[in-house]
Symmetry: C2
Subunit: 313 residues, 2 copies
């Protein structure tokens, strides 16, 4: 039984998904970082090679026909060909030697997973956020994604930081009472919001730990808390603004469908609906599609298409 592999490589881990030629899932595996800028091209290649070997071992007696790796940090043609060179070298002498290899960007596989197409707009809202668009001519455009200081509107970090600042403004009496306060105090096991200083400014606190507070906003908003709703709405509007601006700047992006990927879209209807309403043209909400699939599934789709285009060997 032949199969293909889709890899979704990020800065801390890579997910591998194997599917057979009918698209049925054979399993998923997790390996080390696949973003060459988070580690190095050599390290990323080694990690991907190790993960592929794990998949091979788990599926004995089967033949892998193609691999597609969608990697964060691989944006330019040069980065793609460098990555391809490193990975080909890593796989030389392994069971994957000679297997068709396709290197994509993580946004491309997210788009494929969401829309089943290589054409469209993808809004990704995780710890950070970014918008990518790919037009019919294969051109790529971006908006946002400048990181936690320069701006990643609609991200978990953005929302989480707003939660913390809202709690302090409520503490100071600038904003009214909010259930966010109790939620934040409980999360950290503290009794007074002023104690947050000792938590947030502790050395080594990561962006992801700030982003964790987004979850509290999602829950409080669902429970009707006004300030939590405002945080979610503003954040989704800011993300939508990036899409609208990107479309205004480049003709040809106008009628493209928009995929929405990331847990905030999936877990917060208020966020998703606000985003949809703000990006939709002529009140046609069908332009936006919530991605129900993992990015690795998009990569696996590309690998399956590659195998099919070459005919079964």
């Amino acid at each position: 039984m032949d199969y293909v592999i889709g890899l979704d490589g990020g800065g801390t881990k890579t997910e591998a998904l194997a599917i057979d030629l009918s698209g049925a899932e054979l399993g998923t595996w997790t390996g080390g970082p696949g973003n060459p800028h988070a580690v190095t091209f050599a390290t990323a290649s080694t990690e991907l090679g190790r993960l592929l070997a794990t998949v091979k071992d788990a599926l004995p007696g089967r033949r892998c026909l193609a691999v597609c790796a969608g990697l964060a940090g691989v944006d330019t043609a040069e980065e793609r060909s460098t990555m391809e060179r490193y990975l080909t070298q890593t796989l030389t002498g392994s069971a994957y030697e000679g297997v068709s290899l396709l290197i994509k960007n993580d946004a491309e596989i997210a788009l494929k997973a969401a829309l089943g197409s290589s054409k469209g707009i993808i809004a990704i809202a995780g710890t950070g956020s970014i918008i990518y668009a790919f037009d019919s001519e294969g051109n790529k455009y971006r908006a946002g994604g400048w990181g936690h200081l320069l701006g990643d509107q609609g991200s978990g970090y953005d929302i989480g930081l707003s939660v913390l600042q809202t709690v302090m403004k409520s503490y100071d009496g600038v904003l009214p009472a909010t259930v966010l306060t109790e939620a934040v105090l409980q999360k950290h096991g503290i009794r007074d919001a002023a104690e947050l200083r000792g938590i947030v400014y502790r050395p080594g606190v990561q962006k992801a730990q700030i982003a964790e507070h987004a979850e509290l906003a999602v829950r409080a908003a669902a429970a009707g808390d006004m300030l939590a709703r405002q945080i979610i709405v503003r954040s989704a509007e800011d993300l939508a603004d990036l899409v609208v601006a990107l479309r205004n700047r480049h003709s040809g992006l106008d009628r493209l469908k928009i995929g929405a990927a990331g847990s905030i879209f999936a877990h917060c209807t208020l966020f998703y609906d606000t985003f949809r309403v703000n990006v939709s043209q002529e009140d046609d909400l069908s332009d936006v599609v919530l991605s129900g699939r993992r990015s690795s599934a998009g990569a696996a789709d590309y690998a399956r298409e590659l195998a099919a285009s070459q005919g079964v060997k």
Copy 2:
């Protein structure tokens, strides 16, 4: 000729100002950090002792009657008495042994410098920001000052970060063109705003380096740039909101005068006026006083009062 000394101790440096009993300035000197939490109580005491020795050497043949140290990080009665104990010990055996010593908070001396009183509200807007109020009964209240993540509205960091985010939003087409872009590119010697990533996320970038961009907003606002004006106005409004909320929460703060200290107040009329209008009651702008004096002058005033209350020895 007798004199007294005022010390303004912060996290990185301490300023000493010596005045004679008529209030005439004899000189200023700079020493190491005086905030016991930025270093330790022992280190802060050593640094203050060293600075006082420098003043002594520079004013030979004169007698020091009193010292007042206004120190950041010395907020509670316990911290004050600990600091007093350490400093007294440090000065034992020195020329300052037996000289009257007064430990104050940095906000108290800023208030004294601005209003000439120990009663009032002081809004401090530097790299960070904070509001303190001292009522007629000697009670102390605060609002804001939670730091760059939790919130320091109206601070240089707040404004500087807004400058950077505004430039990126303008780059993405979410906001219109602004002269801030050219100002930021020039400051860093880069040609494209996307290159800011390589600057802002460089390891070791400090809050003060983000705050430096506030100056660009002040200049651009003065030149009429709409987005720069919005940044300044929003920031001043947010700071004023803290004052209004503090007053609403505590009776007795209503008719207190407000001192405004920090370079943004001094160098940006738009900021100062926006703040004044937003905190003023019944359109009486005379409640707000721009501090034209250094905090060390407030400490020196306290030292002079202390010397006077004890009579010339």
